[in-house]
């Protein structure tokens, strides 16, 4: 049952093969028995109540395709009445008094929220080890990281703990864990999904998206998540198409660009081979492959690690111990309250990025760092613009390697390299996807698809066609069925 897609579960619910309460209880049991540490909060009662409501709706014949589907919600989205921690001690006691727009939309679609997933603190990380609630494990190998920051969401879907999950992607946080856990992850165009109620890490880069078992499921979920929101000035007044309509379009004549910078040193040979094999698959379907160049993408890491810390240093200032969240015990005075609440409440990586950002924005450094990084951002966007004059889609690896060992990367800069192929997409605001493309030494490899602005339909179509031709996406971890006995 836990390997079923949204489409399959919806059919089962419709046929009354099982009730939504049964289905929900089944997932809740699996979550309880799981050792993946994928969840920060499990919302049993709420989930069962939502399941009951969904069953009632199904009985009345008012169900939509998403009615009663159990999903896992990244703990970065505010959920009314439910703890929303963003993986931080700072918000360990924070129960949101309001719903994020995404949460609201998912509720209105009659979905069943099983709980809130574990993540790198405030979405800062590529391994889901930077969580106040401990590291998340990769369902394919419990000694490995699941990727991050949406590692809990990825592990939950890959580990059969939810049918799908939500994620957010600031520099690769949907695509990289999707790749390392062999699921389908979509980061839409910046502005496609409302950021209201999504705890901000780097406002100009953050974008929510679905993490699913298939491209078809991703299209179904995106249909619900997408759309202009008057509460988010950066959300786009762009019409939302039905993302499922073009899934079956032919690949004949599709032009694929392979940026040479994405296949340079640092890319694992086996990963590279799987990517090239996937590209061959598209050629077999009638696509044309071109080598292209994104010359400025080599500056994506330095540009990103200026822009994102600058924004986060400011975004996290509201976490000051004054109104909500963690407050240091018995502060001596106001300064002591600020200093200790923030030193004790934030984890190491978050503090590192706050310091980098505060430094880069300081008087005298602003031009050299922030402004320069913004200029680089423009150059990176221009590179993509030129390439998309020649090709329909860019393909390449998501991550330079497969999942690495837990607790193995100690140096922050080495960790930052994990996102080398994903960052430029966020800097340009383009949509990107990760889809399963095989296994290297039993660990998943993801293929990255990058499209032009607002080309989510096209990306989902390409991903779906690949999934029609291959079965990587329906592979499940070997110890999958006997939860809790691995290691």
């Amino acid at each position: 049952m836990h390997t079923k897609t949204i489409v399959e579960l919806a059919q089962g619910l419709k046929n009354k093969d099982f009730s939504c309460v049964e289905l929900t209880q089944y997932y809740l049991d699996r979550i309880r028995q799981s050792d993946l540490n994928a969840f920060i909060t499990v919302t049993d009662e709420l989930a069962l109540a939502q399941a009951q409501a969904a069953d009632d709706k199904i009985a009345l014949g008012n169900a939509s395709i998403l009615t009663g589907i159990p999903y896992a919600h990244k703990d970065i989205f505010c959920t009314k009445g439910v703890k929303t921690s963003a993986g931080s001690k700072m918000l360990d006691t924070f129960v949101s008094p309001y719903d994020a727009t995404v949460s609201q939309k998912l509720n209105q679609a009659d979905l069943v929220m099983l709980g809130k997933t574990n993540m790198d603190e405030f979405a800062m990380g590529s391994s889901s080890e930077n969580s106040f609630y401990g590291a998340v494990k990769n369902p394919w190998n419990r000694l490995k990281i699941p990727g991050g920051s949406s590692g809990g969401s990825a592990a939950s879907v890959a580990g059969g703990l939810s049918c799908f999950a939500t994620g957010t992607d600031t520099g690769g946080s949907i695509r990289q864990p999707a790749s390392l856990c062999s699921i389908t992850g979509l980061k839409p165009t910046y502005g496609r999904i409302s950021r209201y109620g999504m705890i901000a890490y780097a406002s100009s880069l953050d974008q929510a998206g679905p993490m699913t078992k298939t491209a078809q499921d991703a299209a179904i979920v995106l249909n619900v998540m997408a759309g202009f929101d008057e509460k988010d000035s950066t959300s786009a007044e762009q019409k939302v198409p039905d993302y499922t309509t073009n899934l079956n379009d032919s690949m004949k004549g599709l032009t694929i660009g392979l940026p040479k910078e994405f296949f340079s040193s640092g890319l694992d040979d086996e990963v590279a081979n799987h990517i090239m094999a996937a590209v061959k698959e598209f050629e077999a379907m009638g696509a044309i492959v071109k080598e292209v160049s994104l010359p400025n993408s080599i500056y994506a890491i330095p540009a990103y690690y200026i822009v994102a810390p600058c924004e986060c240093s400011s975004n996290l200032s509201r976490l000051d111990g004054v109104r909500y969240g963690y407050r240091a015990k018995e502060p001596k005075n106001l300064e002591d309250l600020y200093l200790r609440s923030r030193s004790e409440g934030f984890g190491e990586e978050v503090k590192r990025r706050i310091m980098i950002g505060a430094y880069a924005l300081s008087a005298g450094y602003y031009d050299a760092y922030y402004l320069k990084a913004q200029k680089v951002r423009h150059l990176i966007s221009d590179d993509f613009k030129k390439v998309f004059e020649q090709v329909d889609v860019i393909m390449g690896p998501v991550s330079p390697t497969t999942a690495f060992d837990l607790d193995s990367v100690k140096d922050p800069v080495s960790m930052y390299l994990a996102d080398i192929y994903t960052l430029s997409t966020n800097l340009a605001g383009l949509p990107g996807m990760s889809i399963p493309a095989g296994f290297a030494q039993n660990l998943p490899v993801g293929l990255q698809l990058i499209g032009n602005y607002w080309s989510e339909s096209k990306l989902l179509n390409i991903a779906h066609q690949f999934q029609q031709a291959t079965d990587y996406h329906s592979q499940t971890p070997c110890k999958y069925k006997t939860v809790g006995t691995n290691r």
Binding site: T84, Y98, Y196, D232, S233, S314, R318, A358
Partner: protein, 476 residues
């Protein structure tokens, strides 16, 4: 040594929008603490600002009123600093691209008109309030004010005395009320002034080190605080010391300023464009549309009063200095425009005196513009004399009714029947032969005696002009 004072003002005007600049919460003053702070104002995790277009429109209106350049693409920045009543840890403001660029305004501190440059005016959100005297050692925070739209109007350092600074502040105060973008209430903090003050030896070109004076909530205190600061700086410099660049807080009770923070302690605000807000784009059409809504400005009104009503420059200035006063006067003009001069005299004379004496704003005057014009009409149509009118005015002030009612009730109607007055004049002449003799022997002053007698007999109701004419005729 001869010193020259240099003053620039930063004025914070709360824009009179219904909701806050970045949220839908109400801006109403004086509500229960924290009852008007929504999720956005509280700075909860995940919330986002959405710009209130009304605030933008009001800022544009100001820019147009001072003939300033409007930046048709302007940008909101974050000003980062920690303070308990600043919920997000940053204030959304405008740094490099303010909505209003350079403009200017004329002031008339004395007989001469002077032009003061306005460097810029930008939009920003207000902070909340920290309340230190409510719970012993603890500080309470009220976030009702957090997010109220402010227009910060920055002047050039063009003012050379406290008097000029006050004249400038008053001009801006008048203007924002005229164009209806701010209620101008200084007590409630809707209009706040910070003054940058420095002095330099007369003739020196470069500016001296300045101090910024904060917490000034009346024009009177503005003048006092600046004069105090000028004295302080003079004392320092004359004793061979150096002025430190710092922010000083004015204490109106102790009448002193004290240091709040020095330049070294000043924050590095780490400004950068707010990624949650798009740049504001203002179309030519919008500018034109807002231009159409501009009312007659004080400077235009003053010119009209001089040209059309024949008022003096001084009178026209006084009558246009405050919007409510001008409104009052204009309401009277609707009644009878040919009486303008008489109206002006009464408004600036008896009415202003009574309002000042009782410390009442003209909006709350017990005598409305309509009833005052009615009273003045009774002078022009000879129903009562100017002198009697003053008595009627006092009765009206006490709430005894309108002019006609009071004239009727007290029988104050002037005697205008020549026959009746003639009889009394003849009677007085007949009864005062010695005085008549004096008059005839050339004592012109004795005429006043007769007038007095006649007024006594008519209980002041005889038309003085007629009395004079008749007396002279009868006596000669």
């Amino acid at each position: 040594m001869q010193w020259e004072t240099i003053i620039g003002l930063e004025i914070h005007a709360q824009l009179s929008t219904k909701s806050k600049i970045f949220s839908a919460a109400s801006t109403q003053y004086g509500q229960k603490p924290n009852s008007q702070a929504c999720a956005v104002d509280l700075g909860l995790p995940g919330v986002l600002p959405v710009l209130n277009v009304e605030a933008v429109n009001k800022a544009i209106k100001f820019g147009l009123a001072i003939n300033a350049h409007i930046n048709q693409r302007n940008i909101f920045d974050r000003k980062n600093y920690f303070y308990p009543d600043l919920p997000k840890g940053y204030q959304i403001s405008q740094m490099d691209w303010p909505i209003v660029g350079e403009g200017k305004i004329e002031i008339t501190p004395n007989e001469q008109t002077k032009v003061v440059g306005i460097t810029r005016a930008h939009l920003e959100e207000d902070a909340g309030k920290s309340i230190h005297d409510m719970f012993n050692d603890d500080t309470a925070i009220d976030l009702n004010r957090a997010g109220t739209p402010l227009l910060e109007i920055v002047s050039e350092p063009d003012m050379r005395s406290a008097k000029e600074a006050v004249a400038y502040a008053k001009k801006i105060h008048t203007l924002i009320q005229y164009i209806d973008i701010c209620d101008g209430n200084m007590q409630e903090g809707s209009f706040r002034c910070d003054a940058n003050v420095s002095i330099r030896p007369k003739g020196q070109k470069e500016l001296g080190t300045r101090a910024e004076l904060k917490n000034i909530n009346s024009f009177k205190f503005l003048e006092r605080a600046i004069n105090l600061e000028v004295e302080r700086q003079q004392d320092i410099l004359e004793e061979g010391g150096r002025v430190v660049q710092e922010t000083r807080l004015y204490d109106s009770v102790k009448h002193e300023t004290r240091s709040m923070r020095s330049k070294e302690e000043a924050n590095d605000y780490r400004y950068f464009p707010d990624p949650d807000l798009l740049p504001v784009e203002i179309s030519d059409e919008l500018l034109e549309k807002i231009r159409q809504t501009l009312p007659e400005l004080p400077i235009q009104k003053k010119a009209r009063f001089v040209a059309e009503l024949g008022l003096s420059d001084y009178d026209a200035d006084v009558l246009t200095l405050q919007k409510p006063l001008a409104d009052y006067f204009e309401t009277m003009l609707k009644h009878r425009i040919d009486n303008a001069k008489l109206y002006a005299n009464w408004v600036m004379g008896d009415l202003s005196a009574s309002l000042n004496k009782h410390q009442i704003d003209i909006q709350d005057s017990p005598i409305t513009a309509q009833s005052l014009s009615l009273l003045i009409d009774r002078i022009s149509d000879n129903t009562i004399s100017g002198k009697t009118a003053k008595e009627v005015f006092k009765a009206m002030w006490r709430g005894e009714g309108n002019a006609d009612e009071i004239i009727q009730a007290k029988g104050l109607k002037q005697m205008t029947d020549t026959g009746e007055i003639k009889t009394i004049v003849e009677q007085v002449i007949a009864n005062n032969a010695p005085q008549v003799a004096q008059f005839k022997s050339g004592n012109d002053k004795i005429l006043g005696f007769f007038v007095g007698q006649i007024m006594k007999l008519t209980a002041g109701k005889a038309n003085p002009k007629q009395v004079n004419e008749l007396l002279r005729k009868k006596l000669s």
